[in-house]
Symmetry: C2
Subunit: 201 residues, 2 copies
């Protein structure tokens, strides 16, 4: 209403970050309401009142837009790519370290809290996060592992990570909240290693 044509702080061209935010807001609404599969780039563009080509320009494709809408501090696929690069014996430790380092910055905790709140108070948001986990986290692990029970293994890792994030970053339960990343890699790394590659039955 006032100053709408003023340049924004941070020196961005006026409009660009506003457009990006409008697309993200439309995407969050569409993914939450329709789920990943039924939400379309065209529909999200229409909701944001922009040309679909602009959505592609900013975000590439639907998966990348989905991830951007969730504001994760690290792409789940990246976590497991680093684990795989570290070699099979270091898989658990590397995955735990990458996960924790991504969530350590305090500003990411606000997003984690928002995501958990959405999931627990809105079935659609829970569906969106479930989609994310299956598509971005468990799907790639399952394909990469090449072991029996790959999906169960992947969800077991997810259960440890979700619980660790809640207890350390949200409930801030001591001494878990103050433990160093190194301590937690030593403690939880073997759990994840076993879930991914060891005997689980």
């Amino acid at each position: 209403m006032t100053g709408a044509s003023q340049p924004q702080r941070g020196g961005r061209r006026p409009g660009e970050s506003g457009t990006r935010e409008a697309i993200l807001a439309a995407a969050r609404g569409a993914f939450a309401e329709l789920g990943y599969d039924r939400a379309t780039m065209r529909g999200i563009a229409a909701d944001a009142e922009v040309d679909p080509a602009l959505v592609i320009h900013f975000f590439g494709g639907k998966e990348a837009l989905f991830e951007a809408a969730l504001e994760l501090p690290v792409r789940p696929a990246e976590i497991f790519a680093r684990g795989a690069a570290a070699g099979p014996d270091r898989l658990g430790a590397t995955v735990v370290r990458t996960f924790l380092e991504a969530w350590e910055p305090p500003e990411t905790r606000v997003r984690l809290m928002a995501m958990l709140r959405s999931a627990l108070t809105n079935d659609a948001a829970m569906g969106m996060i479930r989609d994310l986990l299956v598509r971005e986290v468990f799907g790639p692990i399952t394909r990469a592992l090449g072991v029996p029970d790959a999906q169960l293994r992947a969800t077991l890792v997810g259960s440890q990570f979700v619980g660790l994030a809640i207890m350390r970053y949200i409930a801030r339960l001591e001494p878990l909240a103050s433990a160093s990343v190194d301590e937690l890699v030593a403690a939880v790394g073997p759990t994840v290693q076993r879930y991914l590659t060891g005997e689980i039955d």
Copy 2:
């Protein structure tokens, strides 16, 4: 307003279950607002407009009232008592089985959901649950274990249980949601066994 003096369904004496519920409601408010330590039996009785002796009559002491207010399907201390009774080698498996069996009935999931929602949307409720975990779960384990890092071990177990409950019962992520208790005891038992008694550094 209408029918207040009618006998209640289930044949209870009129007033008794109402009084019990009033005390529980007052207790939930007091624990959430003041935390465990600052909440008093006298204050809770005053809020419920009953004699403090009646609170003792119904619930015994403050810890028992606290647990009743949370409506847990199993006393956390009971989980670990069963684990201890099963012997040191069966500790992890027994604790996981007892935990899962308590949370399997669908009606307990509603309570779990309510508890998590409260914790994530209200700092006081989070404090109440943190108190519960420290007092009822981690305190007893720490004392019973007699190992170094007992508190860290206890919170690691908590992290796995919280994540498992969320993924299985609330997010209902497959195949974790449909796995049998036996399968999960085999998969998660060794994690808990190691957190409680193995090498974690």
